[in-house]
């Protein structure tokens, strides 16, 4: 006795079709929603705290045995000076570029050297000229705050684990030092 032939052979030619139309409807709705809600503007933020000294902070500073670094980046007519009011390192002057704007790359390189000496320091004070354009300010703030992927790694010992870890930013807290001044 022969086995009964498979029913698949009989149905040869009748292929099942995927219902694409409802999927297409969903896709079109999804694309409409995404186009409507997506923001193609890549906006980033640079955070800066308002410099202020509360009585508690002043008391703490008096108690401190060691003077703070207070890294300061001052814009001058022809150059930018990187210095510490407590003479914690030799001041450096970075000449402005050909256009007369601060040399952000030069500032970044100089700050890298300072960061190697003071790896736990995270604050820098910016003292720009009153005529400095906002564009230049942002470029210098970037140079002060961020570490480029091409920069040499700087390691800091993690107090909890005891393992040396690379730092992720240079001096992330940038504040303005001459909000009340006339310069």
């Amino acid at each position: 006795m022969f086995k009964r032939p498979s029913s698949r052979r009989k149905s040869h030619g009748e292929h099942a079709e995927l219902p694409l139309v409802p999927i297409l409807d969903t896709m079109v709705t999804l694309i409409g929603f995404l186009l409507f809600t997506t923001s193609f503007l890549g906006i980033v933020a640079i955070e800066s705290p308002l410099p202020q000294s509360s009585p508690e902070e002043i008391k703490d500073e008096v108690k401190q045995k060691e003077k703070p670094l207070q890294l300061t980046v001052s814009f001058r007519e022809k150059d930018v000076e990187i210095w510490s009011p407590f003479a914690k390192f030799e001041p450096k002057a970075i000449l402005n570029n050909k256009e007369g704007n601060p040399d952000a790359q030069g500032i970044h390189v100089a700050l890298l050297e300072i960061k190697k000496k003071f790896p736990l320091e995270d604050t820098a004070v910016l003292v720009p000229n009153k005529n400095s354009p906002y564009d230049t300010l942002v470029a210098v703030m970037d140079a002060v705050r961020t570490l480029e992927p091409t920069d040499p790694p700087i390691y800091v010992k993690n107090e909890k684990t005891g393992v040396d870890e690379p730092i992720k930013s240079l001096f992330p807290k940038v504040m303005f030092g001459n909000l009340l001044g006339d310069s």
Partner: protein, 189 residues
């Protein structure tokens, strides 16, 4: 007249019988578009708008801004969120000039030209509004309403001079805002 004979009629009939919309290739295109949009979908909570004519500086900062009160400084005016609070002085020489001249009216400044009065009033108003909302909110810390954060986002044209930014910061500081977020366009990597 070749297409109007018996042969033409036959071929038309054939087309009508076998015609089907090529949905598979259309699906492929749509899937690619959906994937692209999902990839570039910005999930951050900010709701910042830009003003026409505003050229933001470019920054390599990795931080994306959260939603907060914002001041927009264009070459013509200053806006707090959506309210235009002051207009800069426009002279014939300034119009169409690449250098933006952000001159304030003398009546708009006080405290030796450091504080911008209309901006101060707008910031105080916004602060009071936020404090009322926080007081009404159910979110509490030790039974007290959440404290006013005092964050101000500054969206300024790249040609604005530091003197103007400094006046804005001084005014905001006087109004109780302690943190500034300078907004910029993300640098393409």
């Amino acid at each position: 007249m070749a297409g109007h004979g018996i042969r033409g009629r036959r071929s038309r009939r054939k087309i009508n019988k076998a015609f089907e919309l090529q949905l598979t290739s259309m699906m492929d295109v749509l899937v690619i578009i959906v994937v692209f949009l999902l990839k570039s979908y910005n999930t951050s909570l900010n709701n910042f708008t830009t003003a026409p004519g505003l050229k933001l500086p470019i920054s390599s900062s990795p931080d994306s801004p959260n939603d907060s009160l914002q001041v927009i400084v264009t070459p013509e005016s200053m806006t707090v969120d959506t309210d235009r609070v002051l207009d800069f002085i426009q002279t014939a020489a300034n119009l169409g000039s690449p250098e933006a001249n952000y001159s304030f009216r003398a009546s708009d400044l006080d405290e030796a030209g450091k504080r911008i009065i209309p901006l101060y009033d707008a910031l105080i108003k916004a602060k009071e509004k936020t404090e009322i909302l926080l007081a009404k909110s159910k979110s509490r810390v030790d039974g007290k309403p959440l404290a006013f954060e005092g964050i101000l986002a500054v969206q300024a044209d790249k040609r604005v001079k530091y003197d103007t930014i400094r006046k804005i910061m001084y005014t905001a500081g006087a109004a109780g805002y302690k943190t500034f977020r300078f907004l910029a366009m993300k640098r393409d990597t």
